[in-house]
Structures are given as C-alpha cells and as structure tokens.
C-alpha cells in the first residue's frame, strides 16, 4: 500500500519550508520576524498597499457599473420598463421608435447557449487530455496552441467567420444565407475554447497529487480517477472557467455581429438554428458608433448594456447555486480561508470516496444533455436519437463493460475533442498565413502607411500596439494581482468578497465596446485627456482587470491550505507566507490569466477605437497624450472601409498574431520555469 499519507506531506513541507524559514530581508539573520517592530511595520505597509490596490480595483468596477446605470436611466421613462423588456420589436430609428429588447435578449441567450453546447464538451475534453493524459511533450505543444487561439483578435475571427464559416454553412446545409444563429454559436465556441480550456486545465492541474495517488492506490483506473476524483475536485475552477467563457461569449461584439445576420427576430421555431439572430452586443456594436449622444436611442443602448449585466449576474448566481449543490457532498480540494472554522458540510464530508457520489450525477447529466444537444444542432435529429440510444445502451450494458474498455473509449473521445480544437486552430492560422505572407516585407514592417494602408508599412501600428498593451499591463497586472491577493489571503470569504467577486464577474461579461464608451466619455472628454495613448491604456487596463483578478484568485485558492498553515506555524509572517509560499506555486495560474489578458488587450478594437487611435501616422507618438496607431484598429478599417486592401489587411492580421505569439512565448517560458521549480 502506497498510502497517500506517507509520501505526500514530505515534499509539501520541503519546498516551501526552505524559503519560509529564511529571515525576512529587512531584519538581518532574525528568524521569524513577527515580534520586531520593523518587520511589523513592513507587514502593515504591505497590508495597506494590497488594501489600496483592491480598493482601486473595486472602486473602478463600481464606477463603471454606476456609469452604465446612469446613462441607461433616461430610457425607462421614455420607453417604459415593461415595454423595454418585453417588446418584441427593436426599431429605434422607426417612426415611432420602438425599443423592445425581447428578441435581442432571446438572441443573446440562444447564441451563448449554442456556443456553450459546442465549447464545453470540447474544452473539457481538451483540458483533461492536456492535463491528465498527454505526455509532457505533447502537452508542451497543446497548451501554447490553445492559448494561441485566445490571441487571435476578434476582428480576425469575424472575417474568418464571414468569409469561410458562413460560406461553409450555406453550402453544407443548402441555405439561402449562412448568416445564422449556428454560425454565431460556432464562432463564439471557437473564441471561448481557449478561455475555458486554459482555466479548467489549470484547475485540474491544481488538484493535489495525493488525491490521484489515493484513488489509484485503491485500484481505480486512470479514467475512474480522472472522472470521479480529479474533475469533481476541480469543479470550482472548472465552473469559474465556464463562467469566464460565458462572460466572453455574452460580451463578444465584433465577431458575432459579422456572422449572425443581426435581424432582430426570435427564431421560429425557437430551435431553428438557421434563422438569423441578433444579440445585445451586436446591437451595441453596430449602433453605438453612429448614434447621437444624449438621444433616447443612446440611452436605450446603455439600457441594452444594463441588460447584458443582468444576464451575466443571473449566470453567475446560477453557477454559484450549482457549485453549492455540487460541493454539498464533497471534500473541497483546497479548503479556503484560514482562521474561520470550516462550515459543517465540509467537516462532515470526510473520506476521499465521498467526492465521487454527489458530484458525478448532476455534472454527467448536464454534460450529457449538452452533448446530445450539440449533436442535434450539428447533425440533425436522427443522429441525436442515435447518440441517445447509444448512451442508454451504454448505461444498460455498463456493468458488463470492463473499466479498461471504458477508459480507452473515454480517452479516445478526449483525444478527438483535442484534435478538433487543433484542426480549427490550423484552419484559421492557415488562412491568415497564406493570405498574409505575400504582404510581409521589410518595408511593410518598418515603413509608414501610404494610400490609406493599401501601400507602405504598418510600423507605427506595431509600435502603438506594443505601447498600448505594455501600458495596460503595467496598470492592470499589479492592481489586479494585489487585489486578488488581498481578497483571497487577507480577507475572509464573507459577503463583501462575494459582492466584489460578483462585480468583477459582471464586468468580465461587459462588452468591450461599453469600456470604449466609458473611456470616451470619462477619460477623453471629462478628464480632457483627448484621444491619447494614456486614455487607451487605462481603458484596456480596466477591460482586462476582471480577467486578471478572477484567474489570480482561482490560482491562489488552488494552493493547499496546509502550505499556509505550515509556513505560519514555522513562524513566518503573513506576507512571508503569501510571497514565498502561496504566490510561487500559484504563479502558473496567474501567468495564464496574464496571457489571456495580453491576448485580449492586443486584439481588441472597440475599447481603443474611441479613446486612443488614429488611422494613419507619419510620426511616432512622443508623449502619453499623443494618439497612436494600433494593429487591430488598422485591420478593422482596412477590412471594412478601405476597398482594395485585402493583402495588407491579412498582412496586418499576421503581424498582430505574430506579435501576440511573441508576447505569449515569453510568458509561457516563464510559466514552465515556475512549474519546474515549484511542485507539491
């Protein structure tokens, strides 16, 4: 018996134990450090600093929410709250104008639902394959490849969707037009895949090794271990991943409006995936730029943004409820806060074996329903019935099938899911590279644009994008990470923290164009920064802040409580514990969040469109108050408003992609460095 108790605690104490017993850097050769006033002062200062960071983060979250609310308010007396919510017709420029959002809300829900039906099985399969099955070499290819998908700017996805996806759907299903709900769902699924996969993979990886070893030692197969011990233990993180994914899907603007058709109708019948559909974000995306500020229509659009927040809120509440139900009979993988006594249900659930029972049923049923729906959408009712029959047959025959066969079948499915993801990535990359490569030349990379970007180069746009992303990260990373550390390590899991987390999740689901409008109204006009580099950096920082806070929180929570207690018991101060014991093992997760954030910041058009960019420049910006060129915006204008610039358009996409990949690879090298050095 290779008992889980024997080997596991030893490495756990060894690696963090070393640094934790080191003297604090301030006091020379004084073990411990708490009783000394200097160290105490330092602790207080750090505590204050973290508090400040989280205050900044929370205040900006609340501020943006309040801003959206205040801008939306005027529409309700005009249109009537009930009419606004249940009116079937959205025709704000008609006579009289109609502001009914029902079709838009239904559209958003349907598109997101469709996207999740496709994305959740694929992402989970991919995450499980990467984290649990693949050899380290395959994993070394897979993880960056999936993160690459996150780095593709949404404008590129939009054009990929418009040119290839809708055309493929039109031909395959012999439709009049491929601009459909299905196209939107597929595209959103591709876009949310990297988020859900990366975050849930980190969650799987964070499950302590003892659990796996314990399960294997009891004679479970690898698949039984994965499906009944590892996945349920990681369920909190996986749910967070799905919420992040839904947030991205609900809030995505630029891509979805290119492929959905944007007809504000409710599909008839409701499951008609070939109907055009219009989402709340698409409405914002296509109407906001041209609408007169201060008009009823303008307020109605903020009302739409408010509705998006409400939907996100409902999703989060539903998720919290689900997690609560699931954890009801489960030992949490990483018991959370020190200090407070564990709630009774945590104490009650004791043995490793208890994990399986409660969590398996609802999760499996949910996944099964989603998968069958996916088959139904993709292949028709006959195929769905066939799958349903196969599943039923499997459950009836289950007692007779050996665990080995089940395992092989399951792993095969995981591998297929991963394969599909890789194929999608391959097709998109291929499209960009084949069309973009002819544009790449020395002049293109180092020259200035001529003839509206049809000729010349994009050097100022490359520099501008680097400035924007670097500035946004310099602002958002420290604030976001410090805020997350404060919320997780220095604060009890109370009502306030939950409130903040809800706010953060809400902001995560807010479409980027709302950040753009906020930046324009507040930074550009109210603070009189003008269209400038600094305004764009702050706007982007605000946009990625929720992602960074949320992923950092999850990474910190996944560090076992025992490490903290061990460190504190050895006399380390709070900050020593946090900085040397908790943060290092959480670093890979934090970096994943940062990577996703960089990809998003580099590729977004809407937030910088109103705040920071100009179309063409002859001089590089000389101060933070100068406007800049940026690659995604350049790409957007070339694709939409400059005829005859297809080659340079793809060239710009290729450069943007390469840039993001460059930034990623630095982060990935750092992460693998951390992963090598820290294990427990």
């Amino acid at each position: 018996m290779n008992g889980p108790l024997e080997p596991a605690p030893l490495p756990a104490l060894e690696s963090p134990g070393g640094p934790a017993t080191c003297p604090p850097p301030s006091g020379p050769a004084q073990p411990g450090g708490l009783p000394f006033p200097r160290a105490y002062g330092k602790e207080q200062a750090i505590h204050g600093l973290l508090f400040l960071a989280s205050t900044v983060a929370i205040v900006s979250v609340l501020f943006i929410l309040a801003y959206i609310f205040s801008q939306a308010l005027p529409i309700f007396p005009v249109a009537g709250v009930w009419e606004f919510l249940t009116g079937a017709e959205w025709n704000p420029t008609g006579v009289p104008p109609l502001y009914g959002t029902l079709a838009l809300v239904v559209g958003t829900i349907l598109v997101t639902l469709g996207a999740m039906v496709i994305a959740i099985p694929l992402s989970l399969g991919c995450a499980i394959f990467t984290a649990e099955i693949a050899s380290s070499r395959v994993e070394g290819i897979l993880k960056p490849a999936i993160e690459l998908l996150a780095g593709i700017p949404s404008v590129v996805y939009g054009f990929f969707g418009l040119v290839i996806l809708t055309e493929a759907l039109r031909v395959t299903f012999d439709l009049a037009s491929g601009l459909t709900w299905l196209a939107g769902s597929i595209l959103l699924a591709i876009m949310t895949l990297p988020t859900i996969t990366s975050v849930s993979e980190d969650a799987l990886r964070a499950v302590p090794r003892e659990l796996r070893e314990g399960s294997l030692a009891l004679g479970a197969t690898k698949w039984q271990t994965v499906s009944r011990v590892v996945v349920p233990s990681a369920l909190s993180g996986i749910t967070a991943a799905v919420i992040l994914g839904i947030g991205r899907a609900v809030g995505e603007t630029m891509a979805v409006l290119m492929v959905c058709g944007n007809a504000a109708i409710i599909p008839s019948p409701i499951w008609n995936v070939f109907s055009p559909i219009r989402t709340l974000t698409a409405t914002l995306g296509i109407e906001t730029g041209e609408v007169a500020a201060g008009s009823d229509h303008y307020a109605a659009l903020f009302g739409v943004a408010l509705l998006l927040l409400v939907i996100t809120l409902l999703v989060n509440m539903a998720a919290a409820w689900i997690i609560g139900r699931i954890q009801g009979g489960q030992v949490p993988a990483a018991p959370r806060q020190e200090g407070g006594a564990a709630p009774p249900w945590r104490r009650a659930a004791g043995a490793v074996g208890g994990i399986a029972t409660a969590a398996r049923r609802p999760a499996a049923v949910l996944l099964g329903c989603l998968a069958i729906l996916a088959v139904d959408l993709a292949l028709g009712h006959g195929a769905a019935l066939a799958v349903l029959g196969a599943v039923t047959a499997y459950y009836l025959l289950k007692p007779r099938i050996s665990p080995g066969i089940t395992e092989r079948f399951a792993f095969f499915l995981m591998a297929v899911a991963t394969g599909i993801v890789l194929i999608v990535l391959g097709v998109i990359l291929w499209d960009i590279i084949v069309h973009g490569l002819p544009a790449i030349s020395w002049e293109f990379l180092t020259g200035y644009p001529r003839n509206l970007g049809r000729g010349g180069g994009i050097y100022p746009a490359i520099v501008g994008t680097l400035y924007l992303v670097a500035g946004a990260m310099l602002l958002a990373l420290p604030v976001g990470i410090c805020a997350a550390i404060y919320l997780v390590e220095y604060n009890r899991e109370g009502r306030l923290v939950r409130l903040v987390r809800t706010g953060v999740d809400l902001l995560n689901g807010t479409p980027s164009i709302v950040f753009g409008l906020f930046g324009f109204a507040f930074l550009v006009i109210a603070l009189d920064l003008g269209v400038s580099l600094i305004a764009g950096q702050v706007t982007l920082a605000l946009m990625v802040l929720p992602t960074i806070i949320r992923t950092t929180e999850e990474a910190l929570k996944s560090v076992p409580q025992g490490l903290r207690e061990g460190s504190l018991a050895l006399g380390a101060t709070k900050w020593q514990t946090v900085s040397r014991v908790v943060v290092p093992p959480a670093m890979p997760g934090v970096l994943t969040g940062a990577i996703l954030a960089v990809g998003r910041a580099a590729g977004e058009t809407a937030p910088i469109m109103f705040t920071a960019v100009v179309f063409s420049q002859r001089f590089l910006p000389s101060s933070l108050l100068d406007p800049v060129m940026a690659l995604p915006y350049h790409l957007y204008i070339l694709a939409t408003n400059v005829p005859g610039a297809t080659t340079n358009q793809y060239g710009t996409a290729l450069v943007l992609l390469t840039l993001v990949v460059g930034i990623y690879s630095i982060a990935i090298i750092l992460r693998s460095h951390f992963r090598r050095t820290v294990r427990w």
Binding site: N262, S295, V531, V642
Partner: protein
C-alpha cells in the same frame, strides 16, 4: 501501456494540413483583389460609361470649389475624427495635404458619426466627420456646429455576379426590402429567395436608404444587417440570392451593380451619372467645424474643396461636389 490515443490529435491535425497542401490552397472562397484597381478602387469595367472626372471644371457653386490648391505652410496639429465612411476621404486628403505642407500633422481617426459630432462639440477634435446630418438633440447640446458638405456618396444596389437581374426600379428595390417579393422571379430573375442585406439602423447610408428608397416603410423582419460597406459587399459577393447596398467605391468585379430606372430608362451608377443628377440615390458627406474654421483647419478644408482635393475624392471612389 496503451498510449496510442495520445497521438490522435496530432495525427488528425497532420492529416488536415496534408489535405490542405494536397488540394493546393483552395480552402478559401476569398476573391483575389483586383490588382489594377488597387489604387483607384472604382473599377471602370464594373461601372461602364464612367470617366474619372466630368470633362471640365463645372461652373457651379463658386463658394464651394475654390481654386486655391497650394496649401500655405501653417504649422501645427489637426485632429479629425468621426464617421468611418468619410475617413478614407479625410485620410487621403490629409496625406496629400501633408505632402505639400510638411509642417502640418493631421491625424485622422474613425469611430462613427456620433463620435465625430461629440468630439467636435466637446472640443477634443478640430474637425468632426459625419455621414448623416446633425440631429436636433446634438444641435441643442452643441450650438454653433458648422457642417460643410465635402463630397457625395452614391448608394449603389448590388447583387451576386450570377444574378441575371441587372436593372430595377426603386419600387422594385423597395419591394425586395419590404418583403413584397418572396422570389427574384418577381423582378425578372430566377426562382431564388432574396436575401436582403442592409446596413445597421444608425448608419447614414441606411437612414438615407430608408427615406429615399423605402419611403420609411418597414423592412422585412429577416433582413440581415451588417455594420460596414466592406461586410455588405463580402456577403453579397458570396451569397447567390443576396441584394445589398454600398458606396460607389466598393464596387468591384466580385459584385454586380444594379442600374436604377430613372425617367423610364436604366441609369448605371457612376460619377458622371450622379453629377448630372440622372442616378437617383446619393447623399452628402460632411465635415463639421465649431463656428467658422480658421488657421490649419481652414487651410485643410479649403484644400479638400479645391479642384485637387475633389480629384482625390473621386480617386477614393466617392463623388466630388461638382
């Protein structure tokens, strides 16, 4: 140990790439850009009977078209922002202007007509661009805005190149867009369903189209809405039953422009037919200043309104003022 499944994704991906290589890059129905029209996007083949400029300097509106084509050497920065439709004009004019006045730095940004009006109203830009008229709400909020008509944008109805229909009356176009016709056969085409592609409800093009063509009637409920000329063109180019409308500059060989009946005979959209008011649907584009422009802004606007400036307007696929 059975580890064969570990390599499945890689094998699948490899097979796919092989397939793409073997089929020789046929994965995309993306059309080749027409190389000869790269600089001047108005394809002369697609718009027959069109000359680049109407023969002589038209003797109309002497206040609008000045002869001062040489910029003075006023130094400084000028921020121009607003409608993405007007952006190509503003940028091309700025490039030409800065080639002559090396001390000027004109920065052009897009974002939408409302951003343009708001920016000029709030003073964060020196010139705003708009593809629609200033609304009453905006006039009330920002008094003293001065819209200057700088160019004309034709609204060209386009269909898929394989569609046999080549000319329509405005009533027929309206019938397609309001749902009266459920098939192209009603207007002389084949028995296919008309997929109507429109612009978003706030775009200046759509507002104009609603008034001039639709007579403010309702659009059919399944009309697809796209938010840019480029997206409308792309969709029409790949959808056999589609009908859409775009600016003149977006016409190339991938889509077919529809002649519109005017006074009983079909008129092909072109700069010449629009200037002679034969082609019935076109609308003005504006640059907006706060009060009377002065200094660099005045010089830049004068340049746009000059003959050289209006030539650039035509080069970008828009219709010059005269």
């Amino acid at each position: 140990m059975n580890t064969w499944y570990r390599s499945i994704p890689l094998i699948l991906a490899g097979l796919l790439l092989l397939g793409i290589f073997a089929s020789g890059c046929t994965g995309t129905p993306e059309q080749k850009p027409v190389p000869t029209t790269a600089a001047t996007p108005v394809s002369t083949t697609a718009v027959p009977g069109q000359t680049t400029m109407p023969g002589s300097p038209a003797p109309t509106t002497p206040t609008a078209v000045t002869t001062a084509a040489t910029p003075s050497q006023i130094a400084g920065k000028l921020k121009v922002t607003g409608s993405t439709t007007v952006l190509p004009i503003a940028q091309a004019e700025a490039d030409a202007y800065m080639d002559k006045n090396l001390r000027a730095d004109i920065q052009v940004a897009g974002g939408g007509s409302s951003v343009g009006v708001q920016a000029i109203g709030e003073g964060t830009a020196d010139i705003g661009m708009s593809s629609r008229e200033i609304s009453d709400a905006e006039k009330a909020k920002y008094p003293g805005l001065n819209p200057i008509d700088v160019a004309t944008d034709a609204v060209v109805v386009i269909v898929h190149p394989q569609n046999p229909v080549s000319a329509l009356t405005l009533d027929q176009v309206r019938g397609l867009y309001n749902g009266t016709y459920q098939g192209w056969d009603s207007v002389g085409g084949t028995l296919t369903y008309p997929v109507t592609i429109g612009r978003d409800s706030t775009s200046g093009t759509r507002v104009y189209f609603s008034e001039a063509v639709m007579k403010n009637e309702k659009y059919r409920s399944d009309m697809r809405e796209m938010n840019s000329n480029g997206a409308v063109k792309q969709t029409v180019a790949q959808t056999p039953g589609a009908v859409g409308y775009v600016g003149l500059g977006f016409i190339d060989s991938t889509v077919k422009p529809i002649a519109i009946y005017s006074n009983g005979k079909p008129v092909t959209p072109s700069i010449a037919t629009i200037l002679s008011h034969q082609y019935p649907i076109s609308r003005p584009l504006y640059m907006i200043t706060k009060g009377q422009p002065s200094g660099l802004a005045q010089d830049y606007l004068d340049f746009i309104l000059s003959r050289d400036g209006q030539k650039i307007v035509a080069d970008q696929g828009f219709v010059p003022l005269a």
